[in-house]
Subunit: 304 residues, 4 copies
């Protein structure tokens, strides 16, 4: 069966599932999104592109952006970034402070909020115009200037971001943040507010299926080894304390966001994005997980 | 370059590395092994077999046996086993009790000692002659009757196994162990004492590269989906709190043992075993990790 | 108002309170006790003695015995015992293993199960006939040969004592237990099974109101300084993670047991025992706490 | 021996001890204090007053002020304050975030930084001019208008108070802080900056020896029961994870500050203050602890 057919068949099946869970309530702007939107899009290295449902609707990609920020920092600074952030799954929730205290402020991995905040600090220390430069970087991956920040969402998040303020100041108290916490968080909330459609998302992430090279413009975003390592990180840490479950059931490196988006990549083959705003108790898209599980089962295309 | 050549080249390179770390000191019988033995063996699905160094020397595979016990339990009982043990990385050491207390006795995954003890309990509840039946199962994978337990090592471990006695009784206090702790531990220590050579190890684990089917005798040990899931579990949890590092640097599902053995599988391609008794601070073979990192880099054959 | 009158008045008031909570269910023999028994007894240094309700009924004093075992070990070995067990409140439940792991097996204080197990190990290393010697010691305090162990309760506890087996083996794995875990636990369960009436309990504990000297026979059980320190320990640690609450509401050094007994002492004045088997969620006697709170409020005799 | 003589004798003894430890380095203004200053002062309920050494030197009392803020909040709002902060020792350091996460943001007691921050929030919600009103309250206890804040120290602390910013925002994320974190922290840093001499400190705290009544002006600051409870809290929680040790060795309710001050009270008898800036590893005055241990041993006046 062709991949477009499998996608359609999986979509038809999953659309019928009861859609349970709530949208993220702690960010007011996210809470207002229609919880029953559902879109998927796949881009393959051999040039296929196929979307179903609300795959052309923009949503803020939230924590999915952490993969892009770690890519950018890794590209600029290489393995030096691992001095300030680890590569291990944490076994704890995305916003936990517990492990930080035991580890003297060093986040276990760059996909926890704590780790992404450290990466944000690294980026603003190394960029002239952090927000502009980062957006340019993201746009350059697939030559797509339609990608933009949502000021409203960044602002909404900032107003209630007490937990992230706590995380940033906590890490700063251990000396692992160089810039002012308010500057770091302003950048962090902004990068999480990037909006994309499922189509843009699957196209943008194709470089991770392609050993770090953008198939659109042949730009090397990461070396082959770095690209494999970012995939490994997504596999072991991309879903917080549900990373094991995602590897177990879906079997692809992936990254989720609290807006209900998930992107997953199959090295040497494809990148797939799915969006459904209702979240399971671990903060990952309920239907998105179900869809990807069904899709890799049907397509028999997990990496394992 | 052919895979045998890459293996040899990697071996030549890594043999020259300084060999640091100590052998596991807490099991008297293991502490006595020559710490500088070093062997590797690869078996490929297309029938190649190649070993270098001390690859025909027997050693007790220790925690590597946990993959075999979870395979056997999964085969017999299916997804029911996940009611008693999770599929998440724990972020803690192999013998930690901390997370167990927070999780009411349910181990995070079957590769932690706690999880393997729960799997042992499940097995003895479901087998007539647990030790004999389990050994028969292991032997049947590659039709190899040379595989046997080491009574001396099982006994040695039992005499000093206070931490594991603690783990087993702790879980029992939450009601998640059905049998007597002393029976469960007797079985657990016995299965960890299984001795194999690198060659036997890589051959035995080939079923995980082959979607659950033994290439030797076509016996289905696991369904395709189950086989992928065991690989996913090894990827996210096989190296305790160094699992992220192994995925990051090596990029293959694998499992280590405190005797200094590591086995890793590349789905649809090969299974590779390496043995070097000196351990790094996380309890994984120092040189074994180095070897596999260099091997997947050279062969460019990581799953990511 | 005379102390007997206050006792009576408090009793009358508290007997009318709704009696909530359950008896300890995990020790079969304790679960069978009539949950609505209620007795109190006070012994003063100036020779008064007054009991009300079921104050002449025997019950196993359980963890209250930990004060007697620490007294005995302190008497024999002096400050050396604090090398193996601390003097800090733990902030955790009586049977928690979490802190032990962070503290390399050293219990925070001798009133946690872990700490009392370490004290038990110390005692059996230093006594010829541990059980007989300890019972003789307890009997000698108030020249009372009616005090005895309950073999039935010790046995009952032993059969289900998985958590304590876990604790003991866990500490042993850190090298802080010298004897065989099964011997240590046999002694530990036995000493917890000592049976006394409220009257015997308040009389036995009078030495802690009297700077370490038994008022009955002038035997010095502890030096003045040691006696004050045992009281300080009961004040900060005697009620596990409800120690602060007990200091706050009752304001006397005291020790509770899972059988529903509590003993408290007012230095230079009196010792008081109360028994009511229903426990609050922290494992301390619901009505016993209420009684002592009302009693110290009415008598205005807290140490603070 | 008279109490003045015991004080002198103890002083002579302890002044000769090696003075180890460092001053608090994280607050720049505190780090600059002469580390070898040493003063003590006792005030008794029967009117004696005696000081030795640098007892008339001002220092910022830091966390000792937490006793005064909890007194003020308790006076105004009664037991309602315990809905937002507990009365249990935590077993963790003064600035730990770990327990907060497990307890959904509710601090274990008002003497942890977290707890004092919650009390600060309560005070600013209930005062028209929080800083002025609080200072007036403190001054009114002993009719002493010489007591004042140190703006320099408050400012110094604010500039590096990342850990406290983290704590405050973390608690706010659980909904247990009503005001803006920056306002709460401004008040918190200010109240910790109050400067007193040992003499002023021992006089100010005399109300806690006197059942809540100022002996200077007969003002009721707390009811008798409340006063006992604040003492109980100081006993179980006043020295963070060294509270047990202080109860064990000194045997008086007390409160320490990171500037090297300690105040302790003996109910119905006296209040004593000691100041020596070098801190032990738990953050309490090294020589202050030694002095009080020797003093209560010599005077035989512990509460136990």
């Amino acid at each position: 069966m062709k991949i477009e057919a499998i996608l359609q068949e999986t979509y038809n099946e999953v659309i019928g599932f009861e859609n349970i869970g709530e949208t993220a309530s702690y960010i007011p702007e996210l809470a207002g999104v229609d919880p029953d939107l559902f879109g998927v899009h796949i881009s393959t290295l051999d040039g296929k592109s196929c979307g179903i449902g609300n795959y052309q609707e923009k949503f803020s990609i939230q924590s999915i952006a952490k993969t892009l920020s770690v890519t950018y920092a890794y590209q600029m600074l290489g393995d030096k970034i691992w001095e300030k952030v680890g590569v291990e799954p944490s076994g704890t929730a995305f916003n936990s402070l517990v492990q930080l205290e035991a580890d003297y402020g060093k986040p276990r991995n760059p996909f926890l909020n704590a780790g992404a905040i450290v990466i944000s600090d690294i980026l603003i220390s190394n960029l002239s115009n952090p927000k502009d430069d980062f957006l340019d970087f993201v746009r350059s991956i697939d030559d797509n200037n339609q990608i933009a920040y949502s000021r409203k969402i960044a602002q909404s998040e900032k107003e209630v971001g007490y937990r992230n303020i706590a995380l940033c100041n906590f890490i700063k108290s251990f000396g692992l943040i160089d810039n002012e916490p308010s500057d770091v968080l302003d950048f962090y909330f902004t990068l999480c507010s990037i909006e994309m459609t499922c189509e843009e998302l699957s196209r943008t992430f194709l470089y991770l299926s392609n050993n770090g090279i953008s198939p659109k413009n042949n730009r090397e975003l990461l070396t082959e080894s770095q690209s494999k390592r970012v995939n490994a990180l997504m596999q072991t840490c991309g879903f917080y304390d549900e990373s094991g479950e995602f590897a177990f059931k879906v079997g692809l490196p992936g990254k989720s966001g609290v807006s209900g988006g998930i992107v997953a990549v199959h090295p040497d083959q494809y990148s797939i994005a799915v969006w459904s705003p209702r979240l399971n108790p671990k903060g990952n898209s309920y239907k998105g997980m179900k869809f990807l599980e069904a899709f890799t089962t049907k397509s028999r295309l997990s990496i394992f």
